[in-house]
């Protein structure tokens, strides 16, 4: 292999921009703004970071396409779309962070967000096991730090510790799985692995390896039964950290593992039409999907905490997204990407509303939303868009994500196939889901405010962020080709 450093550098311009941006954030904070109040330091850090993200976005949009550095990275449609999605969601997260109370070390917080984004960007393009693992770990370690950043609250530390322990375990499984794959196929490059697997078929050791990879996958996207960290992290982490964990990290996770599974391990896919006919990873994904759909939706019914409800709803959405993974082999990754990115928009928005509400009191229980329509019509309107999109009400984007994923799943062997059954199950459960989403909206839009509730003043940047997220959800819903056109 002839190392092509110039090509590598030009392909990694966006990541470079992010890293330089985060170093600039740290440097400026240490030198110029050291003695300024925290709120001002946060503001400056967020502006610099936003600039870095926008530069990175331009880099992705204008930058190179195709395989990079001998196929270590691949910049195909899925990678480019995911990188843009990650950057957009990061930008929104930065906007959400602007509205929250400044953390004790604002610049470090913003810098770590950028490091996480760098990892997520690399995940989107990784086509080699080593890069996949390293980028995943870069993202995960940053996210652990972000989850535990609020040192004033013990819940935040608990969230970080739980996330870290589960994540460390998942990373161990992933690394073990990767090493077995290397042992079986003799390569860490996905194209060679794919060729080798289709040559030798699905042997038991390979299946063990793939199942280990799936464990890490389940952890990363919070699919049952690897979801246990999600409710605690969503509840305990600082709001903007939770927003990043639930949106950009999920999007990049789905892209990475879809790339590993379909182009990489498609030789061991198993049978689409019947679960019992021959070994393969598809049935495992089907089981994860069914478990997530059922557990997520039913557990969400019982929640009184808003963040835990969002966590269980995230688990349920992971179940539906896993259906998109199953169907990606036949219908392409476009429906999956559309679903994951618009889901990310809605959940960042929902966390943004929570973070804005926390400025004027607490927003822990669903009942804390009571009377939001009087306290801040803007927040109530935006929350309605986000929640209805999560519930899958057309013409919002959340509906079309579900619609396309379910259609793709049904194409996969019809209703008789497992994917078809899962699609029907998911559609049935969406009626269950409407109940808990309406409970949230009932508090926000119908219930009267508590006696001591004050109007909420939303900072301009946060308001703009939320309106932008809501507008994107409406726009992508009215014209889905805007996103699908990336493919």
């Amino acid at each position: 292999m002839n190392p092509d450093y110039a090509g590598l550098f030009s392909a990694l311009q966006p990541e470079t921009a992010l890293v330089v941006g985060s170093l600039a954030v740290l440097g400026l904070d240490l030198s110029v703004f050291r003695r300024h109040p925290a709120a001002e330091r946060l503001r400056l850090a967020l502006w610099v970071a936003s600039l870095a993200v926008l530069t990175a976005g331009a880099g992705v949009w204008l930058g190179a396409r195709g395989a990079v550095y001998g196929g270590v990275l691949i910049l195909d449609h899925l990678a480019v779309a995911t990188r843009l999605g990650v950057l957009a969601l990061t930008l929104l997260t930065l906007g959400v962070a602007r509205g929250a109370a400044p953390p004790r070390q604002p610049a470090e917080y913003v810098a770590v967000i950028l490091f996480a984004a760098t990892g997520l960007m690399l995940m989107a393009a990784a086509q080699q096991l080593l890069i996949a693992f390293l980028s995943l770990e870069l993202a995960s370690l940053s996210l652990y730090v972000l989850a535990g950043f609020d040192r004033a609250r013990p819940e935040s530390a608990e969230a970080a510790l739980k996330y870290f322990l589960f994540g460390g375990m998942a990373a161990a499984f992933l690394l073990f799985g990767f090493s077995l794959i290397y042992g079986v196929t003799g390569s860490i490059e996905l194209p060679q692995i794919a060729a080798q697997i289709s040559l030798q078929g699905a042997d038991p050791l390979l299946m063990v390896a793939i199942v280990m990879v799936l464990v890490a996958f389940g952890f990363k996207v919070a699919a049952a039964p690897f979801h246990l960290w999600a409710p605690d992290v969503y509840q305990g982490a600082p709001t903007s950290s939770a927003a990043l964990i639930s949106s950009a990290s999920k999007l990049a996770g789905f892209t990475l593992f879809t790339r590993l599974l379909w182009p990489g391990f498609h030789g061991a896919v198993g049978n689409v039409y019947a679960l019992t006919a021959g070994p393969g990873w598809l049935p495992v994904v089907a089981v994860l999907s069914a478990a997530s759909l059922l557990l997520g939706n039913f557990a969400a019914l019982a929640q009184s905490s808003l963040r835990r409800l969002l966590a269980y709803s995230a688990i349920a959405h992971s179940g539906a997204l896993l259906l998109g993974v199953m169907a990606a082999g036949r219908s392409g990754p476009a429906p999956l990407f559309y679903y994951a990115s618009t889901y990310g928009l809605a959940t960042v928005g929902a966390f943004g509303v929570i973070s804005a509400m926390e400025r004027e009191g607490r927003c822990e229980y669903i009942t804390d939303l009571a009377g939001l329509h009087r306290r801040s019509p803007l927040l109530a309107g935006c929350l309605a868009v986000f929640i209805l999109s999560l519930a899958g009400i057309p013409p919002l984007a959340g509906f079309f994500g579900k619609f396309m994923v379910f259609a793709a799943a049904l194409r996969l062997g019809g209703v008789a196939g497992p994917a078809g059954w899962l699609a029907i199950l998911a559609i049935a459960l969406s009626a269950v889901a409407l109940y808990y989403y309406l409970i949230v909206l009932k508090q926000a839009l119908v219930a009267a405010p508590a006696a001591d509730a004050r109007p909420i003043k939303v900072p301009r940047v946060t308001a703009l962020t939320l309106v932008a997220a809501a507008a994107l959800i409406v726009w992508f819903g009215l014209d889905p080709t805007q996103l699908l056109g990336l493919f």
Partner: protein, 505 residues
């Protein structure tokens, strides 16, 4: 004709403007709502004057929407949709007039109201099953907030029950449509495309798909035994929402059955025809009997709606030209009459007496206290019983004749339902409006004399709304051909003919 799609956008624009106007004053929001509702209605009437009846849908807009799935933004109209569009405009305008007294969050109320109306226009104009589904859901969500926010008795329960039933029904529809599309290798969601895709599937699958789509829509049409959301929802809803709910939204379900489910799979229809007809007939009689037992005035009307919608479903199930055209006529007729009944009970009576219990009303001489309300209710009740001269008569008669031709037993039992309807309507008129103030009772509960003083006069807005609706039921009652001349040619479209043929032995 080509202006028809603007009825959707005009209503949506009205919703936004009313929301903005509500920030200034309730009055502004009201007038914006009235002007846009009436404007959209005028658009439909204008289209009606230029309408040339013919078989098949006349395309208004057709452009690609989601090319990868073959979804097209395709709006079209025929005689059936035009009938219902005119009804929507009428019910929306009357609904605004009857909610003139909403003082709390007026702008938001009318914004939700007009969004619901826009969704309804959209459903009746859609010629692509997915577009129809989108508008259908757009109509569901505002209902929840209208009821939960401005409703009365047990409103949160009623609103949630209604929303969950509607959404469960629409999930079934979505599952059925996706099944036909994906499994049948469909290329789009046009009604014809879906029918062709479904036809490639095995018979058992077609039967299941038809059941999903038909019963999904029929839930919203209040088919027995999936009707229980309707009375609680109607009772809990604010007056204008009950009027729209009974008047128009239940029609969405019946329209979906007729427009989407029947053409989708004639094979499935042939299989399910008899069960559907029997469920419809049971619904007619059962809901009528339940209405006879009600103590709450609004529940009487709520159950009567279920009973009358049973006629619509019976007409569709009987599957001959006469019965189906009668069903569409009944949709129009019931939309007008139910609107009128809910307006009298919810707005004219309840907002003044603050009671809907028949036993309370009985103790007041309502015909003297509110003579206008009594007169309107008697007219609406008589129309609802199906007396000649009102729109209910030609509608129910044609349905019964059509059903008789298909299976005399259905028509015979359904005719019993007409008797029951007469019974509960007369009971409601008697107890609700012609009760006597019994001298011994009056001091005991003390309410009648107290309230008699405070009853405000019937406002101009109420009178205007009532006269609009009464005018419509009388005009159609005297000259049903006005609508039948639109409806009948539409039944000749190949898609509907295939379905009707499958339903004829």
């Amino acid at each position: 004709m080509s202006l028809l799609p603007w009825s959707i956008f005009l209503s949506l624009a009205g919703a936004l403007l009313a929301l903005a106007g509500g920030l200034r004053s309730a009055r502004t929001a009201r007038w914006i709502a009235l002007l846009t509702a009436a404007g959209a209605w005028l658009l439909t009437l204008l289209a009606a004057t230029r309408f040339v009846p013919g078989p098949g849908l006349q395309t208004l807009v057709d452009m690609a929407w989601i090319p990868s799935m073959g979804v097209r933004y395709h709006l079209a109209a025929d005689g059936i949709s035009l009938t219902l569009l005119v009804l929507t405009g009428l019910a929306a305008t009357a609904g605004v007039l009857f909610s003139w007294n909403i003082e709390e969050r007026t702008g938001q109320f009318f914004a939700l109201f007009l969004t619901l109306v826009a969704g309804v226009y959209g459903v009746f104009l859609s010629a692509d099953a997915l577009v129809l589904f989108v508008f259908y859901e757009v109509a569901i969500v505002p209902k929840y907030f209208l009821i939960a926010g401005w409703g009365s008795t047990n409103r949160e329960y009623g609103a949630m029950k209604l929303a969950l039933y509607s959404f469960a029904g629409s999930s079934m529809v979505l599952a059925g449509l996706l099944w036909a599309y994906a499994d049948g290798g469909g290329h789009g969601f046009g009604f014809g495309d879906l029918a062709r895709a479904a036809a490639t599937l095995p018979r058992q699958h077609q039967i299941a798909i038809f059941a999903l789509v038909f019963f999904g829509f029929a839930t919203l049409a209040g088919i027995f035994p999936l009707h229980t959301w309707a009375p609680t929802g109607h009772v809990a809803a604010p007056t204008a929402a009950s009027m729209l709910l009974a008047g128009v939204v239940m029609k969405l379900g019946a329209y979906g059955c007729l427009r989407v489910a029947l053409p989708l799979s004639p094979v499935g229809f042939a299989y399910w025809q008899a069960p559907i007809a029997w469920l419809a007939v049971i619904g007619i009689v059962y809901a009528g009997l339940v209405a006879l037992m009600q103590e709450d005035f609004k529940f009487v009307i709520g159950y009567s709606s279920v009973s009358h919608m049973g006629f619509v479903l019976l007409g569709i199930a009987a599957a001959n030209a006469q019965a189906v055209s009668g069903a569409v006529l009944q949709m129009f007729s019931h939309g007008v009459i139910a609107g009128l009944l809910f307006a009298v009970v919810g707005r004219m009576v309840y907002d003044r007496t603050h009671t809907r219990k028949l036993s309370d009303l009985r103790a007041m001489p309502m015909y003297r206290l509110l003579p206008f309300a009594a007169a309107v209710f008697v007219i609406a009740g008589v129309a609802s019983m199906g007396l000649p001269g009102f729109s209910g008569f030609p509608a129910e008669l044609t349905i019964l004749i059509g059903a008789w031709k298909r299976a005399p037993a259905w028509a015979a039992v359904a005719a019993l339902g007409v008797l029951v309807a007469a019974a509960f309507t007369l009971r409601a008129i008697q107890l609700g409006f012609f009760g006597q103030m019994e001298k011994q009772q009056a001091p005991a509960n003390g309410r009648p004399s107290e309230h008699a003083v405070h009853f405000g006069p019937i406002t101009l807005a109420e009178k205007a709304g009532a006269l609009l609706l009464i005018g419509a039921t009388v005009i159609i009652g005297l000259y049903p051909d006005l609508l039948l001349n639109w409806i009948n040619p539409a039944l000749q479209s190949p898609l509907l003919q295939a379905a009707l043929k499958a339903g004829t032995p």
